[in-house]
Amino acid sequence: MKTREDWTLSLRMLWAHPLESLLLVLGLAIAIGATTSGLAMVEKARVDGDALLQLPEYREIVVSSRESSDQMTTPVVLTQDETVTLSIDDLEAAQLSPDIEFAYLAERTRLRFNTSDINFAPPDAPPETSDTNSNPNSAAADVSTENAAFNERPPLEFATVEGPQPQLDEVSGYSVTTDYFPAMNLTIADGSLFTEADLLQGNKVVVLGAELAKTLFADGENLNRQLASFTNIYTIIGTLQPTGTTLDAMVFMPSRLAQDNTGALAFRGPGGGNNTTLHFAVNDASKLNAAAEQLSSWFDTTYGVGNTATSVPRSAVEQAIDRKEKTALMTLILALAGLLIANVNVSNILYSRAIRRRKQVGILMALGASRRHIFNLFLGESGVVVSLGALAGMAIAFGFSVLLMQSGTDGALPVYAIVLGMLAAAGIALLFTLVPAVYAARIPPAVAIRVE
């Protein structure tokens, strides 16, 4: 154990050589800061990757008709002239594999409310659409439905509702089938979810995300209230539990169905076309590829090779995560190399200090210091240097984390990873300082006392 006088001696020895001590601390700070950042980056890549792969959408197989081939990442060679229309019956393909838990449709949509200041279009021109982007084919399902109806030029009567009006002009969300909710781990907080019957009968009902439910009406009341959007009136039948995701601010309504030319109930997609994307969620991610092969084979057999595309989004994400983890690991290896070099330098400097202080060691031993005292004295000094370097290194790592966050390309590094990384790097640095401490403790007192 170091005594008060030992500590005084250690600290004043450091202070007696301020430039040397400062360089020691600075060298360690940079090396420990880099290593800490590297370790935290590796941990962040791992945690982020795990969190991403936990998302429900990465336990899914996506089957698309060629109608949406422009949305695919790889080119699709069209082998037939006819567009495949996927019907609600195709969701039954989920029964091919016991690993497929849910099968659903989800298409982005938007509800624009008929508020008092809405710009109603004249009867001979189409009304303003509420497209989610500039492509009219990808506009919201309900708006597209209204457009199609408008083109048939019936006299338009925009719906109106009595009572409280929504505070928002429009909300975005998804038109979905019933399996969407359990597949995305969405559970009801108030009211109810819509049913298969709502879907088949085309009922105008909506379910609100948790945040949207708080803000849609001024009084926060939602259940059974009605929303007017163009010619339709939607009834709010439920609100969801919060998820902490963007889904909380969204609205969910039943997918639109219409009979295709074979009489099957096909999905009506944006612009009145047929919807093209089916989602099959598995209960175990390791079964994704096997289930995807089964589905691909079934859709190829049913609709012809090349007319549908089966993809597993998880694969692309896994590759991206792997790349990110490897990049972080390379950064860590480089930082560790820097730490090694810095530690060797620090160890050398402290070793030379121990040589310079042999006389002091001899005097301390004559006064009654044991080898353990001497070892602790030198290790204490090293500990002060390493601690200061570690604290400064941690500050560097936090600074790097803030820069990362401000750059917008990535989030902050996990605090626990920074702290643990700093402790690990400081521990390694302290191991290197054992060498001069052991050397000093082994100096024979009779030799040390003779040094002039």
């Binding site: 005594t3 008060r4 006088e5 030992d6 005084t8 001696l9 004043r12 020895m13 007696a16 006389k359 002091q360 001899g362 005097i363 301390l364 031993m365 004559a366 006064l367 009654g368 210091a369 044991s370 080898r371 353990r372 005292h373 024979p444 007192p445 009779a446 006392i449 003779r450 002039e452």
Partner: protein, 224 residues
């Protein structure tokens, strides 16, 4: 108090055995003032190191108060040095980073004495060597004589049985050296055992007994 029996010290210098001390035997009684004299390279410092168990003898036996301490573990040797011996060096060997009082307190910290007690005792010892007005001064702010007085106070801090003084006046002018010798004489009168290495015949005359070492051998032992 101290008994050396056939102490020898040999060094291995590149395969050649060099004898620094050979067949040294003597006793030192409690309360004695003994001077060790001899020319440079005669083995005086080696003998002092062995007496202070800063070095171990190659052969022979060393008894302290009847206990054989020839070969003890490091921790035990450190304890004996701390509790039983007080060292005074020619070049004072104070720690320049510590104040006078901190230098005196240092050996007491190894003895496990509490901070308040060692501070009080250090202040008393500095007062005894007439340096109470210089307690917080760093050694660099003290004269050579003052530094050696601080070193004496430090040597006395754990109330040792034996003071080992290695040419304590060697780096001091005559008048300051005399002050140090006066303190040592006073300590001897109060019952402390003193072993002093010196080149100075006059200082040797102050001792009750002079042990002469030449070429590593005990040349003569003269009682005054």
């Amino acid at each position: 108090m101290i008994r050396l029996e056939n102490i020898a010290k040999k060094y291995d210098l590149g395969g050649t055995n060099v004898s620094a001390l050979d067949d040294i035997s003597f006793t030192i009684e409690q309360g004695e003032f003994v001077a060790i004299m001899g020319p440079s390279g005669s083995g005086k410092s080696t003998l002092m190191n062995i007496l202070g168990i800063l070095d171990n003898a190659s052969s022979g036996a060393y008894f302290l108060e009847g206990h054989n301490i020839t070969s003890l573990p490091d921790k035990e040797q450190a304890r004996i040095r701390n509790r039983h011996f007080g060292f005074i060096f020619q070049s004072f060997n104070l720690f320049p980073e510590l104040s006078a009082i901190e230098n005196v307190m240092l050996p007491m910290s190894y003895a496990g004495i509490g901070f308040a007690e060692r501070k009080q005792r250090a202040a008393e010892l500095l007062d005894r060597v007439e340096l109470s007005h210089r307690m917080t001064h760093l050694p660099t702010m003290l004269s050579g004589g003052e530094q050696q007085r601080v070193a004496i106070a430090r040597a006395l801090s754990n109330q040792p049985n034996l003071i080992l003084a290695d040419e304590p006046t060697g780096n001091l002018p005559t008048d300051k050296g005399q002050e140090i010798l006066d303190i040592l004489t006073e300590l001897h009168r109060s019952g402390t055992t003193i072993v002093m290495v010196t080149h100075n015949d006059a200082q040797g005359d102050m001792a009750q007994r002079v042990i002469n070492i030449q070429d590593g051998l005990l040349h003569s032992e003269v009682r005054r």
